[in-house]
């Protein structure tokens, strides 16, 4: 059995770990509120954008000459995957969930004999992916310096994606991120952004719009913006998810540390009492033998 001193030290160390995890939980909770708020505030923009594009693509007259961002290049040979993760660890299964989802998708693409290119956003995803898919990663972006997700960063990623698309480097682009449902649940998502996937459209509005200038021109102006918007949305969802995930992970860690302290304290008391009893027995038996 460990000596009393050892036990004491362990209790102290677990207690200080608990303090750290507790503090991290508080910080995550505060950040979560902010991240959640901005995720909610960001929704109208992406929704409106989506609406406008829906209306536009419904109204487009010449489907064959539609911008490539909408209709695709006509083939599906090269896939670009943008994997969005966090820059910091200690957030439970947050990063591994995205990576798991992405890896499943990668395996599928490679099985079909297609080409794969990866852009990682956030250093944690890069760390985990470079071991297996190191040669496929063409770009690694990290926004460690920015405190909150902002549109400027998203626009940078979006512009890069579009540049590569226009250079003919890929045909299909998919982004991976965690959708924030609540503090406990975050759902890893794979969303195809090029060509735009309009399968779940509810084309209820048969509104006749006047366009100025014509549809095609608006569309070709709008679609690149939509890419950035979608990426920004993913970033917002991601940052909310990250904080939520961290919060619940740290909550668990705090609870586990508490349990451990209890267990160790009991053990400590028990061995202390055992030592006292032993001493007493020795004294008594010594006195008896006189």
């Amino acid at each position: 059995m460990a000596s009393l001193d050892d036990l004491k030290k362990r209790i102290a160390s677990v207690k200080s770990t608990q303090k750290i995890t507790k503090a991290m939980k508080m910080v995550a909770a505060a950040k979560l509120r902010r991240a959640q708020e901005s995720a909610e505030k960001g929704r109208p923009y992406s929704e409106k954008m989506n609406n406008v594009i829906l209306n536009l693509s419904n109204g487009i007259s010449d489907k064959e000459n539609a911008p490539k961002l909408l209709s695709g290049t006509g083939q599906e040979k090269t896939h670009l995957c943008v994997v969005m993760t966090s820059d910091r660890g200690l957030c439970g299964g947050f990063n591994s969930n995205i990576i798991k989802k992405a890896k499943g998708y990668f395996a599928k693409i490679l099985d079909e004999g297609k080409e794969l290119k990866i852009i990682t956003v956030g250093s944690k995803g890069n760390d985990q992916l470079k071991r297996v898919y190191g040669d496929k990663i063409i770009e690694n972006i990290s926004f460690k310096e920015s405190k909150n997700a902002n549109y400027f960063d998203a626009d940078k990623v979006g512009k890069m994606v579009i540049e590569k698309f226009e250079a003919g480097e890929f045909d299909v682009c998919t982004i991976f991120y965690n959708q924030f449902k609540n503090v406990i649940t975050q759902i890893p998502q794979a969303q195809q952004i090029i060509p735009l996937n309009n399968e779940d459209e509810e084309s209820g509005s048969e509104e006749n719009y006047e366009f100025e200038p014509d549809e095609d021109e608006i569309l070709s102006n709008l679609l690149p913006k939509n890419i950035s918007t979608q990426i920004f949305k993913a970033m917002l969802e991601n940052s909310a998810s990250e904080q939520g995930s961290r919060m619940s992970a740290m909550d668990n860690a705090t609870r586990n540390a508490g349990e451990m302290v209890d267990k160790l304290t009991i053990e400590y008391n028990r061995s202390r009492q055992a030592a006292i009893t032993k001493e007493l027995i020795e004294i008594i038996s010594g006195a008896e033998s006189l």
Binding site: Y45, K48, V52, L56, Y151, E207, E210, F232
Partner: protein, 130 residues
Amino acid sequence: MSEEFKVEIVNPEKSFLAKDDVSEVVVPAFEGEMGILKDHISIISFLKPGIIKILSKSGDESYYVEDGIVEFKNNNLSILTSTIFNLADMDKSKQQDLLKQAEEEANKTDINDQSKYLADQKVGVLKTLN
């Protein structure tokens, strides 16, 4: 009363402005300035750098935008933009910053005609503000 409609300006971070007592909005549409009154036909257009003027009962307001999309439908005007500043809050130094940025952009040689045109527009609009 009946001559009023709703306007909402959203940027990626949040809903920037929402008003429902607006009588007229002038937006710098791509093919020229466009005044929108109540019962305008449904329209989608995009913006070039310029000034959005909002005339309403509770006072007139002006905003500087660099890009965006306007959608008008059922007397709801939505303006989506990524860069917007309220002119009332914009001081001289901010203006100078923007102007400098725009000028730098306009002087780049490796940009295409459209971005050059937009950058020139920015410079033009910002200069008139001073």
